[in-house]
């Protein structure tokens, strides 16, 4: 808000650049973009591209994989915004359940893509409602509530098709793995979701409600914010996004399997925090999610291309994540 007010003062070009740099360095997400850029260069130098056009193909792959992390990350971001203790640990299980049920329903029949998508969203909706019920009606702390419900969702997924891999309809698989004008379709979907999330968070009254709830729940309630409705919307929205991502990921990877969501537990939380949103809630941003998701993928591909063993790779991944978080938070502390 203050930024636009200052901009009205019509700065001279030189001041303008200085101001722009200053404003950028005050954005928490800039560090995530720098880290992602540095990793990209390092990965290119290490030769992950492999041959001509490698620079672009690495970027293409990075955007494809990042888009799944972005979609669950945005859901997690809204949950984390609600304040300390709010984390959704059921995202991986919800993804798996939605992917499994939807693919089983479609049974590789191209005519059933739209109903399949609706089923995946419906599963997400049901999971979100269940989580919200546990948290609000039974007053179970969100971490434990979503953890216990993830056990239930996982069991349901196992029971629903016993890990049988059913192929997605050809048209859907083509869409999920393909691209439009050089941009992966998965990234386009994620971009659409991000723009929507950005508008909700920054421009809509609902976004103010979510931020207010995260900053001080009591004050928000007294100020007339429908706190319970905000919690409802956020938890259900997060689960729906997880369901949608599960659907996309299953279509992308040629079928749902039972541990397809596992890595997204860490991923969804890591992209939120590395992206510069406050884990304490009440202060979030969407652009950082993209940077963090790209960074996480490029980091792994960079370490892969150096040909290191699994052990060393994991150690370096851990150390780099911790250092990025430590660095970013120091800069933020100074502002």
């Amino acid at each position: 808000m203050t930024m636009t007010a200052k901009n009205n003062a019509v700065p001279t070009p030189k001041q303008g650049v200085k101001y722009l740099l200053g404003a950028l360095s005050r954005k928490a997400w800039i560090w995530a973009y720098l880290a992602a850029g540095a990793t990209y260069v390092a990965a290119i130098l290490a030769g992950s591209g492999g041959g001509g056009g490698g620079i672009w193909s690495l970027l293409y792959v990075a955007f494809t994989f990042a888009s799944f992390a972005v979609m669950v990350g945005i859901g997690q971001m809204f949950v984390v915004t609600l304040g300390p203790g709010n984390v959704d640990l059921s995202i991986p299980a919800t993804m798996t359940l939605a992917g499994t049920v939807a693919l089983k329903f479609m049974a590789s029949d191209g005519a059933l893509v739209v109903p399949g998508l609706l089923i995946a969203i419906g599963v997400g909706l049901a999971c979100g409602l269940f989580n919200f019920g546990l948290i609000l009606l039974m007053r179970i702390p969100p971490i434990i509530a979503t953890l216990s419900s993830s056990f239930l969702f996982q069991s349901l997924a196992i029971w629903s098709n016993r890990g049988l891999r059913i192929k997605p309809p050809q048209s859907l698989a083509d869409f999920a793995t393909g691209g439009t004008v050089g941009i992966p379709n998965a990234a386009l979907v994620a971009l659409l979701v991000s723009v929507l999330a950005w508008v909700i968070l920054e421009k809509a009254i609902v976004g103010r409600w979510i931020l207010a709830t995260g900053q001080n729940k009591r004050a928000a309630r007294l100020g007339g914010v429908p706190v319970n409705a905000v919690h409802f919307g956020v938890y259900v929205g997060c689960a729906v996004l997880a369901g949608l991502t599960g659907f996309m990921l299953a279509s992308f990877s040629g079928g749902a399997n039972l541990n397809m969501g596992t890595e997204y537990m860490l991923m969804s939380i890591a992209v939120v925090v590395i992206g510069g949103s406050s884990i304490a809630g009440g202060n979030s941003n969407v652009p950082g999610i993209w940077a963090a998701a790209l960074f996480m993928f490029l980091l792994v591909s960079m370490l892969n291309s150096y040909g290191l063993g699994a052990g060393v790779r994991l150690i370096l991944t851990g150390l780099i994540i911790v250092s990025v978080v430590a660095l970013a938070s120091k800069k933020r502390g100074r502002v």
């Binding site: 029971w159 860490l266 052990g311 994991l314 851990g318």
Partner: protein, 308 residues
Amino acid sequence: MNRDHLRILLPVLSLAILLAAVFYLQPRAMSYFGLNLLFNLAVPVALATIAQMMILMVNDIDLSIGTFVSFCACVTATFVQSDPVIGYAILLAAILVYAGMGAVIHARGLPAIVVTLGMSFFWSGLAILILPSPGGAAPDWLRAMMKAKPPFLPVAIIAPILIGLIMHYFVKRSSLGVLLRGVGGNAQAIERSGWSVLGLKAIAYGIAGLFGVLAGMALVGLTTSADANIALRYTLLSIAGVILGGGEFTGGRVSPIGAVIGALTLTLAASFLSFLHLSSDWQIGAQGAILILVLAVRLVFTRREALA
């Protein structure tokens, strides 16, 4: 009956009910040998739960404890067994890393949930380096200790009781314990009265590291070998155990005895489900359901507590 007593009543009751159900389904479990089998794997879980409790006590959460216990198990099954001096040096260094992690988290105001997530990669990487494929062997004295058969009560019962009592006296009675709970309750007040919160957090994390090491060693003593993924479940089990035992995520409100009972309950829940001949599809789901059930009952208790 004060609030602390009420708080501990529910975990005790849920353990008792579950135990009665197991005995009803399988009367042969009601023996020295049966109890030992039922609770055998509870010892490392209880130790890991205490480690998690130390972290929750200072308002943080540790998502790396599972990989850390796996790492300690790998070190125990390799170095401690073959070159004890190097092995213990590694374990000591690991405890110091934990304490350092606590200090850094406090000094830089970092979110513990992310730092520990990152560290979980670090530990599992080290574990894979040390033990790329399952194997190793337990040191003889450790195996003998975990498999000992003292008169009257099996180790699986004695050890958790001892752990619970020692930690109860440490957390609830010693002055250091009070300070540590104070950090969780009101860190600013502790800082203003002249204590170093940085040092206290490092101590809390260091003790958590120590219990993580003990959990890894106990686990190897039971299984007699290790692999890099041996204890991944412990992260979630330990959090659930602390909460089941009446602990809370904030405010330094924890109960060591409750945490140990919570760990026993979770271990028993797994045995109970296998006695029920439940289809393996539903094993994890039923564990989730038991967790939800106990917490739902707790809601009734806390409502009453608020009224009283």
